[in-house]
Symmetry: C2
Subunit: 409 residues, 2 copies
């Protein structure tokens, strides 16, 4: 389940390796409680004493944990306490969006030390963007005197379908140049000791929400990112569910109207073609040009003939009836797609994120109404639909979490 290996045969082997969950549990416990003794860890995780000695030994050897002094005696020898070896290990999180690139440097405890964001065009060739990822991260570590070999893991979210076992994008519509490109091998040239884990941006958001956002403690939920496209991240039985090929959650191309427009995927009536940012903007332009919304026309004139989904949202917030209708229609169609998923998956929670999710309360209201109307009472009785708690940071925090989850290997 790790994806830093460049060669297909090795990658296949790597995919078959089980994730050492014991290490994850130990690190999670220390992240939560602070320094702990081996005895504490035995109590918290339920593993046997000899097994814990083995796990801790591996983590110390890899420079992830170290002994940081002695704790309170419980009657016998004072126990040696374990904490993250912050002198030797760091992780990085990378959030590649359609138009921007963010990189964060964090301690093994998960504390973010610094972050950088700059504009980026995801349609650029991979070497260009990956060079920028490396440059931003190198700038941050060099200023702190950290060596590149101390980066133990890099988690990266990308806006396209990822084969999780190899870390490669597969036929990504927004970034065709990246199809099959070996991101992990490329980043390893600069950060040779780092595990590189690439995942779809919405899975990364879901992981962030699960560990530190609105999904903490929720067993089954869906994160929906509404922006240029529409994507979903699934948490099932308390962990991110990626499906059989790593491409679960591709909800933008669910059909909500068989008589609808043709989508860029070639099919008809996809919810993304009808309800994502570009569709909202296009309907706004239509309303401006037809004269039905003077407010949108005025806004379009100040924008040099263009409108964004956010402009339509602002007009809706200002009370423009036509703009409100556009936002509601978008919410209704997203709600139709989500209702089908609620029937199928019976989640406890749906979290909405992405730039377009926040264009107005009518969107959320309309999604809620549609799901309540279309899904059976037992499924919606305790279902909550809300905004993602981490907002724009979800993907970056999720990327760091992804790195932390794989740092021990």
């Amino acid at each position: 389940m790790l994806n830093e290996l460049p060669l297909p045969d090795l990658a296949a082997t790597s995919a078959a390796l089980p994730i050492p969950e014991e290490e994850t549990e130990v690190l999670a416990a220390i992240r939560k409680h602070g320094a702990l003794s081996r005895t504490d860890l035995v109590r918290i995780t339920g593993y046997s004493r000899p097994k814990m000695t083995l796990i801790v030994g591996r983590l110390v050897q890899q420079g992830i944990l170290r002994e940081v002094g002695e704790g309170e005696s419980q009657g016998g020898r004072r126990p040696r306490m374990l904490h993250f070896d912050t002198s030797r290990g760091y992780v990085a999180g990378v959030d590649l969006g359609a138009t921007s690139l963010s990189v964060a440097l964090a301690e093994l405890s998960g504390t973010i030390l610094e972050r950088r964001t700059e504009p980026a065009d995801v349609r650029d060739k991979p070497p260009l963007i990956l060079d920028r990822v490396c440059a931003l991260l190198l700038e941050m570590i060099q200023a702190r005197g950290i060596d590149a070999t101390n980066i133990k893991a890099i988690g990266m979210g990308v806006p396209g379908p990822v084969q999780f076992s190899t870390g490669r994008l597969i036929a990504p519509p927004l970034m065709p140049e990246w199809d099959g490109y070996p991101i992990p091998a490329t980043l390893r040239e600069t950060f040779p000791m780092a595990r590189i884990v690439v995942d779809n941006d919405v899975n990364v958001m879901a992981l962030g929400e699960l560990r530190g956002g609105g999904g903490v403690g929720v067993e089954n939920f869906i994160v929906v990112k509404i922006g240029t496209g529409i994507g979903g991240g699934i948490v099932c039985h308390g962990s991110v569910y990626r499906g059989s090929d790593g491409c679960a959650g591709d909800i933008g191309h669910i059909c909500v109207d068989p008589h609808g427009p043709v989508c860029r995927c070639g099919n008809v009536g996809c919810v993304e073609a009808l309800a994502a940012g570009p569709a909202i903007a296009a309907r706004g332009v239509e309303a401006a040009q037809s004269g039905s919304s003077p407010l949108l026309l005025a806004r379009m004139q100040t924008r040099g003939g263009h409108l964004t989904a956010e402009d339509v949202g602002a007009a809706a917030a200002a009370g423009d009836r036509i703009a409100i209708g556009i936002v509601q229609d978008s919410g209704r169609m997203i709600g139709e797609a989500l209702a089908g998923l609620v029937n199928f998956f019976n989640p406890r929670l749906i979290l909405l994120g992405g730039g377009v999710a926040n264009i107005g309360h009518q969107l959320l209201a309309s999604i809620r109404q549609t799901v309540l109307r279309r899904s059976p009472p037992l499924s919606t009785k305790d279902l909550r639909i809300d905004y993602a708690a981490l907002k724009l940071d979800a993907a970056l925090i999720g990327a760091i979490t992804l790195a932390l989850d794989h740092v021990f290997v």
Copy 2:
């Protein structure tokens, strides 16, 4: 996760109890390999020796396992072998369909000893049908001299949404009389020592396919039952996924045409209203009455003015163009709903079961074509869509598996 307790507060407590997976693993190993020693079980399950002694002790005490002699020595003392205590324990499986009731008696090894099937109308009041369940099972055990207290568990599949934690149906459209009825408590009056586990019929089918059908060894798959209605059973990470309220898989009311007919659920364009058995039959009647299919008209006349989905399937098999078109349309609409789920869930396998699934190869072909056309290449590359392996027995075998999984508690 057990559902035999009648009182809501107790049921809530029971729902919070974790399933002792250790016992399940031990029983599964013996079911697979036959008699095993404690040492074998330690090797197969990976549990420690003291833990295994504890688990086996509990199972022997409950009359589920017993020592059956000595095995081959591996150098030391000859090990005592463990097998099912068939003299003390049995399980039953119940499959309640819309128009029939099947009950099977099985050994703890899973071997079916006998089964009985009779017509039943699921719209009847629960006591009437549950009396028949008890009567059929009592007949079978009395003929074998088995006492009712030796029935250790009863697994029951029912055609409606079940709150798995309490074993009650919640607002079941096909069987409104059963809403909230305490099935577990009722059956316990006759079989006081039995754990009663009630689940949706398609979940039960999925469990049967997972353990002994087309889903053996498949991590993520969906079972689709096409009959009077359309339902789904989900296997996720190798176990049946029931969702947050136990009602996951309710796929019959996914909308495939917002301009379609009104469904009995009150919504518009549900796949069930457009493509399940009654819709196929109704379109067949239409084609007969309009004169467009003389073959269907002739068949309808011999049927006293009625047609079933099977009749339309038979006409399609005989080459009737109109009937072929009806079957294909149904497959296309089911395929549209499934394509959305493939995008979302990225399963490795979809298995089709239920009476209508077998009305003709055009149905399967059309479902396959639609999913291939509508879902992204990465999701369909290794996706298999096929008939359920267990055919009509899936539900009964699944019900017995459900009982076996809970027999140890």
